[in-house]
Assembly symmetry: C2
Homo-oligomer: 755 residues x 2
């Protein structure tokens, strides 16, 4: 008997129909009896002391039920970096000072959204403006005004990495490639703006529905800011329309909804509009990276030094992690025997930056990969050859940090060279037509416990039923990436059931097992997937007992689940339908149901991640030499995400990554002027749409990742990294212009062509 397997099957998403028909319920779709609508008053100035706030006129407006300022609530500083409390520098509403244009100053709850917004205009705030800093250099200048009293300058955090004999590497280098890069702030542009709805239950518990990637973080941090206990807060995550890192922190509207709901005894909902999102929301860090790489004559890398300055905006949020990750990703992909990293996280009077798909890697790899292609040119080598020569392979150690368990980077490079026709095209397509390459690597979840959780990183409860079905309960959060598909697929595979035999309960801190760290760092498939497998294995052991009993199996027989049955692996006719086995086990258990909880915490796998994905991408572009406009004609991607659990889901990630990264490379940027974001609608902030998508060919180099479920590792975030440097390299191939300051704009190209 050949067991059917679901691994590698392109199964469709269970939520697809609901999402395309409008049936999926997002936070803003929820209406509760007596619900009020909230609005936030935001600072119109970049840096100021709040001299006074008068809310009397706002309170007097008919329909207004509650107005709060930072004076009315506990001044609890919060942030995801619970491990280092000094990094928690934010309060829900401004206390004494505002630090960026958009900083939340007050909140109103009223009978409808119009009234709430009208009330905002009746709040009188007197600001005493302070000098402000917006850019990295300004912020670091001697005598610059500083944002936070806890610091004497604007440096929030430094991160240093030193290994190997770097100085000697540079002294002995045949070629040193040295460049400075800058990147620009971009917005996540998730389709669903942030929304939170809170209700104070009559027993004192707070229930909050919120558009979040991390229900557990919201629970912990909301409890702390409200001076409640964790278990006094229940977080429910409805369908979420994208996050990309922008929804993994407690935000002021979460707090204000909960606080005001408790204060006035009615549910309160906040939903941001697009302008708030673009003007004041989290964004990908603008970073300045100075990088130099030492090469031997044959192209072997002997050392690398990276210095990074991250414009963090007014508060840390998740930002410190980016400082670490840029350091890590500066040394990934290639064997680098000596490495030095200096990262500085810098406060400025701009909206706080935060996690965004790749989180440090897009910037680090844009710099590193652009340098690799430039170095190849300098060394007279082919860019792919140079990369192949230095590629990491399985078993490589990133000193003191991690070991690479599986690595298909070389195979990816060779394959992308083949399918793109690289050797025939590079440097031969003619002026205005080019081809470029870039690689990536990414983590499959983080190991470092910066949130300081006391729970397993992922948990999953599995219940099995005599109707031949199973229920999976996990706090792993689907925000559109598809974990509500993949985790049931993993469970169905383990139990030998079909997808529609699995029922999922998720997104509710009270219903799901404690706990799951949420959706970030491409951690869910690996970590929650492993937890699911462990729960399933425990359940299976109990079911196997029944089959062994029934057929009086020799003790050495292995049992297996498949095709809706449980059977002796080598005597497959000795089988019983799954539901019947559950019924037997339950009877043997005196009626008590069969269930188990599985946990996963990464242990003994370094400081970064249990597994790393790899890949290589080639972009073919045409540059209009008259207008400077770049058209990406074709994308080629070969990636190593371990065993592809669901190729269609991987393809979705790939295409989304290309779309998002083309925006990053070519069209998207938050235009800032004195701390003010100027382009605050989708008319001015240009994300690529379906019509802008180039054709894309992709292939997989399958490796088996020992740390991942069924050999899988991440597929959604690393892919967001190579596109920008590949396009930069292709534009370079087409025009000789190498863009060191993203985005690539027609103006910059024309500037080069004119020069």
């Amino acid at each position: 008997m050949s067991r059917q397997t679901l691994i590698g099957k392109s199964l469709p998403r269970p939520d697809a129909k609901a999402k395309v028909t409008g049936g999926a319920q997002y936070t803003d779709d929820i209406h509760l009896p007596g619900m009020l609508h909230g609005a936030l008053l935001r600072s119109p100035v970049a840096h100021a002391r709040i001299a006074s706030i008068d809310i009397d006129r706002a309170r007097a407006l008919p329909g207004v039920k509650c107005v709060i300022t930072g004076n009315d609530v506990p001044a609890v500083r919060y942030g995801n970096w619970r491990l280092v409390p000094e990094l928690q520098d934010e309060t829900a509403l401004a206390v004494d000072k505002v630090r960026f244009i958009g900083d939340e100053v007050a909140a109103v709850a009223a009978v409808d959204a119009d009234t709430a917004r009208e009330a905002l205009e009746l709040i009188d705030v007197e600001y005493e403006e302070l000098p402000a800093v917006f850019g990295i250099e300004e912020a670091l200048a001697e005598g610059a005004p500083h944002l936070h009293d806890a610091h004497t300058d604007n440096i929030s955090l430094t991160r240093n990495i030193d290994y190997g004999e770097l100085d000697r590497a540079f002294e002995e280098a045949f070629h040193i490639q040295e460049d400075v890069f800058t990147t620009h702030p971009v917005n996540h542009a998730y389709m669903e703006p942030c929304s939170a709805l809170a209700r104070a239950e009559s027993d004192g518990r707070i229930t909050i529905w919120t558009s979040t990637q991390t229900p557990y973080y919201i629970q912990c941090l909301l409890a702390r800011t409200m001076e409640l206990r964790e278990n006094d807060v229940r977080v429910i995550k409805p369908h979420v329309g994208g996050g990309f890192g922008g929804k993994m922190e407690l935000r002021p509207w979460d707090f204000c909804a909960a606080w005001m709901a408790r204060e006035i005894g009615r549910p309160v909902k906040f939903t941001l509009d697009r302008t708030e999102e673009l003007a004041t929301g989290r964004r990908r860090h603008a970073v300045k990276i100075s990088s130099r790489i030492a090469f031997q004559e044959d192209g072997t890398i002997t050392g690398k030094e990276v210095r990074a300055w991250l414009n963090g905006g007014a508060y840390n949020g998740m930002g410190p992690t980016a400082t670490f990750l840029i350091g890590n990703f500066g040394a990934m992909l290639y064997r680098i025997p000596a490495y030095r990293y200096r990262g500085l996280y810098i406060y400025t009077n701009t909206p706080p930056a935060g996690a965004m798909r790749g989180f440090g890697a897009p910037q680090a790899l844009y710099a590193g990969e652009t340098q690799m292609s430039q170095a190849a040119a300098a060394l007279g080598l082919d860019p792919i050859e140079l990369r192949l020569k230095n590629s990491m392979t399985e078993g490589d150690e990133i000193p003191g940090v991690a070991t690479v368990g599986s690595c298909g980077l070389k195979e990816c490079l060779e394959e992308v060279r083949r399918i793109s026709g690289w050797n025939e095209k590079r440097a031969t397509l003619g002026r205005g037509h080019g081809i470029g390459v870039a690689c990536y690597s990414f983590i499959s979840g983080g190991v470092f416990n910066w949130f300081n959780t006391k729970y397993p990183f992922s948990s999953a409860e599995v219940r099995v039923f005599d109707d031949g079905t199973a229920q999976l309960s996990t706090l792993a959060a689907d925000i559109g990436q598809g974990s509500d598909l993949i985790l049931p697929q993993i469970l169905a595979e383990e139990l030998g059931l079909r997808m529609d035999d699995i029922r999922l309960v998720t997104g509710d801190t009270a219903a799901c097992p404690q706990s799951d760290l949420g959706t970030w760092g491409s951690r869910v498939t690996l970590m929650a997937g492993n937890a699911v497998r462990r729960a399933a294995k425990e359940v299976k052991e109990r079911l196997f007992e029944m089959v062994s009993l029934k057929f009086d199996l020799n003790v050495i027989h292995e049992l297996e689940c498949g095709d809706g049955h449980i059977y002796a692996k080598n005597k497959p006719k000795r089988r019983i339908p799954f539901g019947e086995v559950v019924a037997m086990a339950q009877r043997a258990n005196r009626g008590e149901p069969i269930k188990a909880t599985g946990y996963y915490t990464p242990r003994d796998c370094g400081l970064v991640s249990p597994a790393f994905s790899f890949g290589a991408q080639v972009a073919e572009t045409r540059v209009d030499l008259d207008t400077g406009k770049v058209e990406v004609e074709q994308m080629y991607t070969v990636h190593d995400c371990g065993v592809e659990l669901n190729p269609m889901a991987v393809e979705g990630q790939l295409e989304g990554s290309i779309q998002m990264s083309l925006g990053y490379a070519l069209s998207e940027t938050l235009v800032m002027q004195e701390g003010r974001t100027l382009n605050t609608t989708f008319l001015d902030y240009k994300i690529p749409v379906a019509a802008d998508m180039p054709p894309s060919i992709s292939k997989t180099v399958e490796t088996f990742e020992p740390a991942g479920p069924f050999g899988a590792k991440e597929a959604g975030e690393g892919l967001a990294c190579p596109t920008a440097p590949a396009v930069v390299d292709a534009v370079y191939d087409a025009t000789g212009y190498c863009c060191n300051d993203l985005p690539i704009t027609p103006e910059k190209i024309l500037g080069h062509l004119g020069a």
Copy 2:
């Protein structure tokens, strides 16, 4: 150190504030995006063959999205009596025949309720009327038309009990008290009419929010009628505004909401109106009881024979249980050495009867207790003396059925005699002024597994957290009776925490452990309470390990939870705060949370119930001799519900019972004419309101019930039994009129006074 205890504390309900302020969310309060509104077409005739149904005109009405009839859905017969499938005689929508006025024939879902109701009028049904039967005698008459093809007559079920030498008892009797009683149909009159809202999830699962006492039954039966698997149905019970037995079955609107939601891909909601509830809803059985009791000269009972004919209406529903319970309650309260019972469950063309508070006991005890008082008169004995002489006591066996574990009946009788001034008042108050007595006993949950569940009868999951709190998760259903108060109170007591340290998750088949049979038969406090204690004990054992470890305690030391700490019982200074112990245990558990599930299934405790409550009640009434109007001046109650866990909660049950039972005795009846209910609004159907409530004095005789949690047994349902016979006895004392056909109306009294 004296440990504080919550047992016996009158703690307020956690849901009280939400309910009185309108914040509590009932099913009808839930609005989902795209939700449609349903309405049911009901038969206008009592008995007919459906010749044809034409739904084309209804379907064509703009705004109508779905119309279904019995032809469009699987003709699955369902009912709570899964153990005896022949008793499952109902389909969600009529197939071929209608059997009562109100029988559900078709359902419509439309964009609003008005449109749905308008569409009903456009459904053309051709009925071929059949002869109908409405009363017991008619239904049993030779040649009577019968309702169900599976039977050749209208008898659905018979129940016989025989023990002891009954014939000899009657042959040798000094006095035989023989009477015939009839009782009338009454409605539950819960404040919240039935409501169900269903959504078809995009993975194929059905979620249904419904006003139910029994989420688990709904899950099982809805799955069956929709030809789904149990785990394909998720039932959520929001706040429920009363049930009293009327919401413990799958009902047509549950099915229609779910079926149509799946059919059209939009949520569908049904909410009944009061007229539907009164005209077609479940009702307490009209019963004819013929009873005779054999007495020795000193009043000792030597035998009893009861014959009962239950008017079941058109379908069985829960009814067969009442046939059993009338048999059981006919032999309760007193030592009856010989007993014979013949119960017949009879189909008629009237709305189906069902469970209602006491379920058989109010009718059986009305008959039995009225007889006891009448027998006392015949024997020249005081009614209380006669009862005391025959009272059951602890350890009494109900042959082959149960053993009475705790019984304070004698103490109740003595105490109610004392506090009511019985000896000074009985037969001495003068014409028009009387005092009467009646007793009750009731079950604390049922043992007999008529639903044929394969799960434990009750389950509870307890999670403990290092913030010093615990979460209780159970499917036990609060329908207003207060289990959401009592179960957390039990857990708080076990864990030594405060009430607001306990967070409750309930009413969701997907979130709560499998399973709980729901709220009926006064089972929740005892059964779910025991499950809660077992889960708590398992958790405690793991926490005790930590305290023992920390203080290096001698192995014989007992540990205890109290006042938010865990400590050595005899060295109470060796203590650690609860949350700290949880943190220790969780660390020792490598971060995995501390939780346990506890189960309870009654085993080895007979066929009826693990425990029986007892009590005695005295009513003092004044009868207006000119108008026949009865005014109840004062109620005295002494009850034995074991250890009172929460006296205020018991008091609420007592007062509600008196209110409901005064309606039963005096003012409420569904007036029927040829199968049609004539009084279908609260203007015509007279329930007593607050202003009608007499003063009430109550006391508790505390016994310790070994089967119950902390010694508790039921307090909410037995109390609904004595009031009607006590009032009948008081009216007899006042006027010499003994009402054998409830309700007691002025007309009947005047008829007697005139005679």
